[in-house]
């Protein structure tokens, strides 16, 4: 096992979790407006997958639940905290909020699955222009039943674009157990759109990193799409106000026990863990403090009259 790599990944995972917990605390104290979707429990996917990205060449699309993706990609805690507080120092100056992030080649939006047609378009553009790089798109199990998602999969299959679809199947869409409202299997329908399909239980960040690395290389070379389903679990509420009364006890128990963050933690020397956690806690606290003090944006600057 590569302990250095694991320590690096653990630090990023712990950063995400600490960030999400801090956000929960802010909301609980009424210090944040709007809404938020945390990614506690799913950090290993964001970190393992996005460790491979070439930010200038590749393009990444996120979802409504993309704090983790953003932090895995950029590490910019202060900008994200600022964005959630609606501050001028935010990722897009507070214009977007938790669900609407844009940073270089990374975009998210609040319509579940709605980014996927664009993601295929970016990949098609790469193909047409003969540019390198791939498009990595996160999506949820719930979003798998949306028409735009299914149409996007068909387009990727028909035009054989360099897309990697990363399904974070955490079993729930909000409170709905997705399986109960879904016909058939994701595997068969994905294959039915002409995409190769891989499934993996997302327990081990190094394993995720290794697996995704293979797929990433393959898509970079073949310029053809792959669909990758991660079994995962959200160990927090869907959004700020969710009491989680709907959880399936067996699922909950399994994933509490197999939290990928704790697994990574257990594999590292205690000393390393302590150092990392202290550093990250300081970093996050500091970032939120600075964000609190940052100014609000000025409408006159952010919102220009129409052309």
């Amino acid at each position: 096992m590569n302990l250095d790599l694991l320590a690096r990944f653990y630090e990023r995972m712990f950063l995400i979790r600490t960030f999400e917990q801090t956000v929960e605390a802010y909301f609980a104290r009424g210090q944040m407006r709007g809404t938020t979707h945390g990614s506690i429990g799913q950090e290993a996917i964001a970190v393992g997958v996005l460790s491979h990205v070439h930010p200038d060449e590749d393009f990444v699309t996120g979802t409504h639940r993309s704090h983790g993706h953003f932090l895995a990609l950029t590490g910019r805690v202060f900008e994200l905290a600022s964005e959630l507080m609606g501050k001028k120092t935010g990722v897009i100056h507070g214009r977007g909020g938790s669900q609407h992030l844009a940073f270089g080649n990374f975009l998210t939006n609040g319509i579940t699955g709605g980014m996927l047609p664009s993601a295929v378009g970016v990949a098609l553009a790469k193909k047409l222009k003969g540019e390198p790089g791939v498009v990595i798109s996160f999506l949820g199990d719930g979003g798998m039943n949306e028409g735009h998602t299914l149409e996007a999969l068909n387009l990727a299959g028909a035009f054989q674009t360099p897309n990697i679809f990363v399904l974070e199947n955490n079993h729930y869409a909000m409170s709905t157990v997705t399986e109960r409202v879904t016909g058939g299997t994701f595997e068969s329908r994905v294959r039915g759109f002409g995409l190769p399909y891989v499934r993996h239980r997302a327990l081990d960040v190094l394993e995720i990193h290794r697996l995704f690395g293979e797929i990433y290389q393959r898509v970079r070379e073949t310029r053809r799409p792959v669909f990758l389903e991660f079994e995962t679990y959200r160990l927090c509420g869907h959004s700020k106000s969710d009491k989680r009364e709907y959880v399936v006890p067996e699922l909950e128990a399994y994933w509490r026990e197999n939290d990928p963050l704790l697994r990574a933690r257990r594999a590292l020397p205690e000393e390393t863990v302590r150092e990392i956690e202290e550093r990250v806690r300081r970093q996050v606290a500091e970032a939120f403090r600075r964000a609190e003090e940052a100014p609000f944006p000025d409408p006159a600057e952010e919102l220009k009259p129409r052309p």
């Binding site: 407006r33 709007g34 809404t35 964005e83 609606g86 501050k87 935010g90 100056h93 507070g94 214009r95 977007g96 909020g97 938790s98 669900q99 609407h100 939006n109 609040g110 319509i111 579940t112 699955g113 719930g142 979003g143 039943n145 949306e146 028409g147 735009h148 869409a173 909000m174 409170s175 709905t176 997705t178 109960r180 409202v181 879904t182 009491k243 009364e245 709907y246 609000f296 944006p297 000025d298 409408p299 952010e302 919102l303 009259p305 129409r306």
Partner: protein, 328 residues
Amino acid sequence: MRYIEHLRQAIEDLLAQDPTVYLLGEDIEEPYGGAFKVTKGLSTKFPGRLLSMPMSEQGYTGLGIGMALAGLKPIVEIMFGDFVTLVVDQVVNHLAKFYEMYDRPLHYVLRTPSGGYRGYGATHSQSLERLFLGIPGLRVVAPNVLSDPGALLKTSVNLGMPVIFVENKLDYARPVVTQGAFGDLFVVETAVADRFPVQRLALPDEPPEVSFVTYGGVLQEVIQAQERLLYDHEVIAETLVISDLSHGRVETLPLRGRAVVVVEESWVQFGWARDVAYRIQHHAGKPALALGARDHYIPASEPLERFVLPTASRIVTETLQFLERATP
């Protein structure tokens, strides 16, 4: 009783009294009871009558259309009004057409919570009922805190014509007052008695100089404007709040002000308010100004959001300017 309780009670009555009523939507069953808790508790009381849907707005909007064609009365919930963008084809090219072209009485209500001022950002704050205004074969109805949301919902379910029923997220928690004293100052009365009434909020005795016309959740900002006009500027205003957005006969509204300001939460350009103002000018012959959101997406950050959406203070300022311009 709060707005949400009126709605929940009405849905409960409908389910209890009419076995053909069904609810469709995402996360509407227990233990969630809907993203805004409107249907909380109901799936336990009425097993099998609330059908939790996959994330498939086009699909289940159409599913409801089929149920209506088969004689049922579906009430379909779209979790946020912003997502009606996904169902425009099913509603405009199917539901509305079946109703009128195929001449089938259809009982169909599409409920959706709309509106901003909450920092939810660009795809969770819009008032997109505008997409359905003016489409033949559709009725757009919006309750408010002066009109009983439950009664309006019952009327809509039994209308025999498809209804887009626009609720407001912030109104859910507010108390509803349909007659009598409202706060220390105002009185509520029915200005136009109708299945979808027009309610008036006014001072008990004094005649108003200006009439506001509005609908839905932005009423809150209008009421504040009405107060500030009185206290800070000694201008007396009344407010008429409409619940039948598409078919309400604004041509004959009993407007008592010499000038009219029509306020909507959505973008003012090509919106509801300008259409209403146009008709008031033509038919009542009174000067009518339309106010609404500025021409920008709705940002998350509070000062930006409040710059874009109409606020009490902007309503006050623009109303005063308008009164000056419109002085005979």
